[in-house]
Symmetry: C2
């Protein structure tokens, strides 16, 4: 099976957005409709290596009602619609492949409601995760999903984002209680509710979470919140072998240690982090841990994992509850991308993303590393290993087209390897247009059901066309 990482998208045509539509949008939004080249460019290109495709216009919405009005106008002209949060997606999600109107939701940034007792809140789609946590600071509550970037919560819901905390707190799938969505025909629906659980009808919330704007525009989100743990500790441990590290993770989870984060850093990435963040950890496969709980429970978790790690060849297990040490460690982890890029000055960074059953993780990573070496590529690895999810950062010389070609081929092989192991072509970045060639390989006949649903809810194919479902 031949799969292309980034199939050539149909180029946008200038005619996708008729002047009459722009006129109506200008009437509705005034200066909040922009057709300037700079604004359009910025809205068509995410932070990935994928080619950008600017929309014909960008509409800055302030309310669900405005989004509804914009969608209705676009629908009446059969003009494509691309929702936009912060532009931090990684698979070309916001590229206006067929032109049309980008709806920028970043100005819909109100926290609408916080319910302390129920541990939930309602936000507009443009609120970012950091903004929400800032807002919550006085309440003793927090929202744990942390994909790295300060993404909008609407975008995170739309792409089913997760990150380092997912092993304990789940992903957006588990943490969205309900949504307000504007459909392709302009109808507004509310899905889910505030009850913690419900058996009332089809789970539309989960259908829209991860639908990447192809079924509707998410304008509000009801989210689960959590109490900030009384105590947190962080720990670092080095291993001679990748298997030792992965087996420690497996045993930790089997034992039921409610670990909040377990991150794997391979020796290449560890070297990069040492240089960039001025650490001197051994240049070996390394695990970063975080434990949440009471003082006593955090101590017990740390000690349990230390014992497990030692049994499996881990050395130098060091843990600390000091906030500054924790911060330094996680800052270094979050800077991993920049640390990797510093290994090869001038290189572009391409972050890949697969997820496999954890029993296959060591094998999947080791085969991938062999392939990277054979392809003469540099690609440090980090992984949210509690979930079996890992990322390579390919460091690509922009002046060497063959390097990108080799990386692309190696990525195809890695994705097919992950799917062959019962895993997925994307653990958390989504399909966008970058992974669209793999959906069929992963889901087979089920893709036809996705297509049926898309067709039923968006018969004219106006919602973020060219994303998720292969043409």
């Amino acid at each position: 099976m031949s799969v292309q990482t980034a199939p050539a998208p149909t180029p946008a045509t200038a005619s996708a957005t008729p002047e009459a539509l722009l006129e109506s949008l200008r009437e509705l939004l005034g200066e909040r409709l922009s057709t300037s080249a700079a604004v359009r460019e910025q809205h068509g290109k995410d932070v990935s290596f994928h080619e950008g495709f600017p929309p014909d216009a960008v509409a800055f919405a302030h309310s669900t009602e405005e989004v509804q009005a914009i969608v209705r106008l676009c629908a009446s002209h059969k003009t494509p619609i691309v929702p936009f949060g912060t532009g931090t997606s990684l698979e070309g999600h916001i590229a206006a492949l067929k032109g049309g109107v980008c709806i920028d939701l970043s100005q819909m940034n109100s926290v609408l409601q916080v319910n302390d007792e129920d541990l939930d809140c309602r936000v507009q789609a443009g609120v970012t995760r950091k903004q929400l946590n800032e807002y919550l600071r006085e309440t003793g509550l927090f929202f744990p999903i942390d994909p790295g970037a300060d993404a909008s919560l609407g975008g995170m819901a739309a792409t089913r984002a997760s990150g380092t905390n997912a092993v304990r707190y789940g992903t957006m799938r588990e943490n969205v209680l309900g949504l307000t969505v504007v459909l392709a025909d302009g109808r507004v629906i509310k899905t889910g509710g505030r009850a913690r659980k419900s058996a009332a009808g089809y789970d539309l919330t989960r259908l829209f979470v991860g639908s990447e704007g192809t079924l509707g525009v998410i304008t509000e989100i009801q989210l689960r919140l959590y109490g900030i743990p009384e105590a947190m500790s962080a720990a670092v441990c080095s291993f001679d072998t990748l298997e030792g590290a992965v087996n420690t993770v497996i045993l930790t989870i089997q034992t039921g240690v409610p670990v909040a984060r377990i991150e794997l850093i391979d020796e290449v990435q560890m070297d990069a982090i040492n240089r960039y963040s001025k650490f001197d950890y051994p240049v070996k496969p390394t695990l970063f841990f975080e434990f949440h709980g009471t003082e006593a429970s955090v101590r017990e978790q740390s000690e349990t994992v230390a014992a497990l790690a030692e049994e499996l060849g881990g050395s130098n297990f060091v843990w600390s509850t000091l906030p500054e040490e924790r911060s330094k460690l996680w800052q270094a982890r979050h800077d991993g991308y920049w640390a990797a890029k510093a290994l090869k000055p001038g290189a572009g960074g391409w972050a890949t993303d697969v997820c496999v059953p954890i029993s296959r993780l060591a094998e999947c990573i080791l085969e991938t590393k062999k392939d990277i070496q054979a392809s003469n590529l540099l690609a440090p690895i980090v992984g949210h290993v509690g979930d079996g999810n890992f990322h390579l950062t390919y460091l690509i010389d922009p002046d060497d087209p063959d390097e990108l070609k080799r990386a692309s081929a190696a990525n195809d092989r890695m994705v097919m390897r992950a799917i062959g192991m019962g895993g997925t072509c994307t653990g958390e970045h989504g399909i966008g247009y970058g992974k669209i060639g793999f959906l069929q390989a992963e889901h087979g006949e089920a893709v036809s059901v996705m297509r049926t649903i898309k067709q039923a809810l968006d018969p004219d194919g106006l919602m973020n066309p060219g994303k998720v479902l292969p043409a």
Copy 2:
């Protein structure tokens, strides 16, 4: 708004299943096609008070391929299909309202795969939860979702079941990783996969979980498993007021105590349990707790909650890690229905089900209790209060039609009260045909999207007709 708890369903017609279809099914299944009155009766009536409607025939399937063949034959004759697991549903889910063929999956009872390291397994739809846990006994793993009845895992997935453990382990929504489903046209799809998380395409798994057989027949389920905790403790605590009990629950969850179970028993139900299970707890609102973890963590959790409860007026907080005391307590809780029925010999028991944001729980229960009293009804209450979910058991004299009428009216009011508080008409029992009148009140315009999906995936309306979506 006038809502009927159980709208009169269209009666089945004998002509729904043509003789030619029965002939073909007999050829396929031999003696595993039954048209005997006893078998048909047993398959059309669940364990609720809802009227039963027998199917025209019952097909006992042994494989996904057989289910596919049966569905194709039924589809070619435009004959309705009703999937059946153990018949323990509570809202008339299995009633063959339009006649047709019941597909009994109980003989598809193989555990197909257990992956210790990945904490997951794959089962056929007819495996029951007790059977699975029996099978897992040697592995140190367990499947936590416990709706009380020994339901089939296919049925539990189809109805998005949960139960006492959901506050810690989630519901079927969180614990199904993937499904095999036979669609209305006989196509077989696999949804989800074995990766812990994925951002690849629409979440069809969650769409089928809770769809009650109206979108397809679930034949296999990939499930999350958990390590059996090193230690467990159970605790009981009485309160003078319901508010005290509920506030203890709220504070427990806010504090981040990872409680495994918190059950509320009102004074009426407590009296019933004392009598039935020979306890002598105070006849007051009471909480039953269960804590899972290490020895130390279970001790710490118990002591933390004891302190919180005392602060909020709880008395006699008693906890124990002795297995026999734990078993006795939870046996009593599980026998709650029989204990309630014993309060009024000869009465039928009707279990209701709503779920609200926990901040509204005390108010919702207290208003409901007032209404019960004003309606001169007897209805003990139990609740999975960590989730805001509670059940009344109306004790109905079968010879007094007015009593059922009053209970039905009070139930309508309770459901609308719960919806008005941002809650749901059903926390875990599902819609079936019993709650079908409330879906619109809860979900509004979103119901039209559910209908669009139903229409797209089952254009002839053959899959469990008359359930979930109002006609």
